[in-house]
Symmetry: C2
């Protein structure tokens, strides 16, 4: 049902809020009316924080994580294990794994997983740069920590094949996490455990 708004400004704000994932037009209207009840300065701060983020965000040139500088704090930390790379989908997974305090190596952020349904192929992800890193840096082990979904498994296998020639050890986090769940929602104990009990990728495909 098309809804008539008493104000074009309100309608435009609702249109924009409704573009957010998980936000329908009723919720968008509720959010717009909420903003109207707050001081003008709040909305300005709100808007500028989002524009600043979008305009000035930098991706770490090494691991492609979100950063304020050319190299992120994790990559710049020389006390971390420089020979181990943990491959994750996105920054939320980095944050989740950092919260477990079980991992002291570096990361490589793919930016997603291979998902033909969503039009995401290997070329859209940081897979080539991962292979380059393994060749250029003294990496001894690559830990695959992608979601345990079909797309994640496909991506794991694609990366495993790409890295075979380099001779690097490729491991995958233990499947203590229920199939179908996403990394970011796993509890810290399970997630930490799954990193400690990782297995060789070639073993994991037997199951």
């Amino acid at each position: 049902m098309t809804q008539k708004y008493p104000s074009r400004l309100l309608e435009k704000a609702v249109d924009q809020l409704a573009t957010l994932p998980g936000v329908g037009r009723k919720t968008a209207l509720r959010l717009a009316l909420y903003l109207l009840r707050q001081p003008v300065e709040s909305t300005r701060l709100f808007a500028s924080a989002l524009v600043d983020l979008r305009e000035h965000i930098i991706y770490c040139k090494r691991c492609h994580n979100i950063s304020d500088t050319d190299m992120c704090a994790i990559c710049a930390d020389v006390s971390r294990d420089q020979r181990t790379l943990c491959v994750v989908e996105n920054i939320r997974d980095v944050m989740a794994i950092e919260n477990t305090s079980q991992y002291r190596g570096l990361y490589h952020v793919l930016g997603g997983v291979i998902s033909p349904m969503d039009g995401i192929g290997p070329g859209d992800l940081q897979i080539d740069s991962l292979v380059e890193r393994v060749n250029a840096e003294e990496i001894e082990e690559v830990i695959l920590a992608l979601s345990t979904t079909m797309e994640g498994d496909t991506t794991n296998f694609f990366i495993f094949r790409k890295l075979e020639a380099t001779g690097v050890r490729v491991s995958v986090i233990a499947r203590g996490i229920a199939i179908g769940d996403e990394i970011e929602y796993a509890d810290e104990v399970t997630l930490g455990r799954s990193i400690l009990s990782r297995t060789d990728f070639s073993d994991s495909v037997k199951f």
Copy 2:
């Protein structure tokens, strides 16, 4: 648990998004990362629509509904019944009642209901201006269409007392709507019916 963000810009955007009602920090992070995947121009449009709304919104000087002009389209429509006022909490209720196509009178938007728990007293609402309107305009009936909650009932009664001296007929929409529900979520048939079968306020307090 305090979360470490890899970017101050990201953290500020998450802080701001998490101020929205119903949005926690996990959802805020998800929304921020969604915006990062969209074109820069999208975020600029998004931000400016919200700031425009907050900075340039006008409230109708007659009914206090949200408007782009001094007098809203409903108040400016001379074909509508100028002798009937429907008192509602907010603009969402106006939109819901307009959708029923059962009402052709004017509105008066209170801006909320009396709620001591939230620190909202009669002075924070457009009640005095309602009494002024009833005195100044040729109003024959005031329909109370507030949420059927304790706060709504309290407000109904307060307005009824305030209007007693004016001699205007005060009616209340039929309680076809389940007690505890909010106006905006009622289905159109029930809501339309409840306007048609409104009863005198003095009768309704007998139940």
